[in-house]
């Protein structure tokens, strides 16, 4: 699975991209797993109301299913335009 982080999520996690071998599941389960990996992840994902998710470059919810070949991105609410 390819994980991408943008804006302050990237800064808190400390990297913009990483590969992880993970069992299939939903986004909520993936976040719970990430938070167990270290305080940087725990801080980045502390308030899920401030986190948005895309799966394979489509906006997705916490209940979206993800598998080994998916690209999953985490970022704050967008502020372009």
């Amino acid at each position: 699975m390819t994980l991408l982080y943008f804006a302050w999520v990237r800064q808190k996690v400390g990297k913009g991209e990483e590969q992880m071998a993970l069992p299939a599941g939903d986004i909520a389960g993936l976040i719970a797993h990430l938070k167990s990996l270290g305080p940087n992840y725990a801080e980045a994902f502390a308030d899920l109301s401030r986190i948005r998710v895309a799966v394979n470059q489509h906006h997705a919810g916490l209940d979206a299913k993800v598998g080994a070949n998916d690209e999953v991105a985490f970022f704050p609410p967008v502020t372009g335009g």
């Binding site: 943008f6 804006a7 470059q57 991105a73 335009g81």
Partner: protein, 148 residues
């Protein structure tokens, strides 16, 4: 419908973009929007980050939706990334149509959805401080107007 979607660091030439959209005489009306970095007391730079590939894909989806809702002859969207100074342009949305009301409505629709759906993030530099701009609830409200 002519479609041009570009994410770039460089500025754009609005005159050229509108001429490319409507200079052939196929459209009577072009509505355009440009967003600019506002000057604020201690703001030195606004830096835009984005999610490459998804940005273009998401904007293309929004343009497709606009093309279903209104009769359009062309859409040009240019969004800049990287560091920008006060007064510089951030974004262009230009819509060509045979009818001005369709052009205005689609232009406003695309701006409202760009602000709520396209994966860009703005970081302000004020003196030696950097901070991420917060998403505004009023932008969500603006986008909700268009929900059927």
């Amino acid at each position: 419908m002519k479609i041009s979607i570009r994410i770039q660091r460089e500025d754009f030439d609005l005159n050229r973009e509108v001429t490319m959209l409507a200079g052939d005489g196929e459209s009577g009306a072009v509505a355009s929007f440009t967003g600019h970095v506002r000057k604020e007391e201690d703001l030195s730079t606004l830096t835009l980050e984005h999610y490459p590939h998804m940005t273009e894909a998401e904007i293309a989806r929004l343009v497709g939706e606009a093309g279903i809702r209104w009769e359009l002859t062309g859409v040009t969207i240019v969004h800049r990334v990287g560091p920008l100074k006060p007064g510089e342009r951030i974004v262009l949305v230009a819509i060509a149509s045979q009818h001005r009301h369709a052009a205005f409505a689609a232009c406003e629709f695309l701006m409202d959805y760009l602000k709520t759906h396209a994966p860009f993030w703005k970081e302000e530099t004020r003196g030696s401080e950097h901070h991420w701009v917060e998403h505004r609830a009023s932008d969500d409200e603006a986008a909700k107007r268009w929900q059927k």
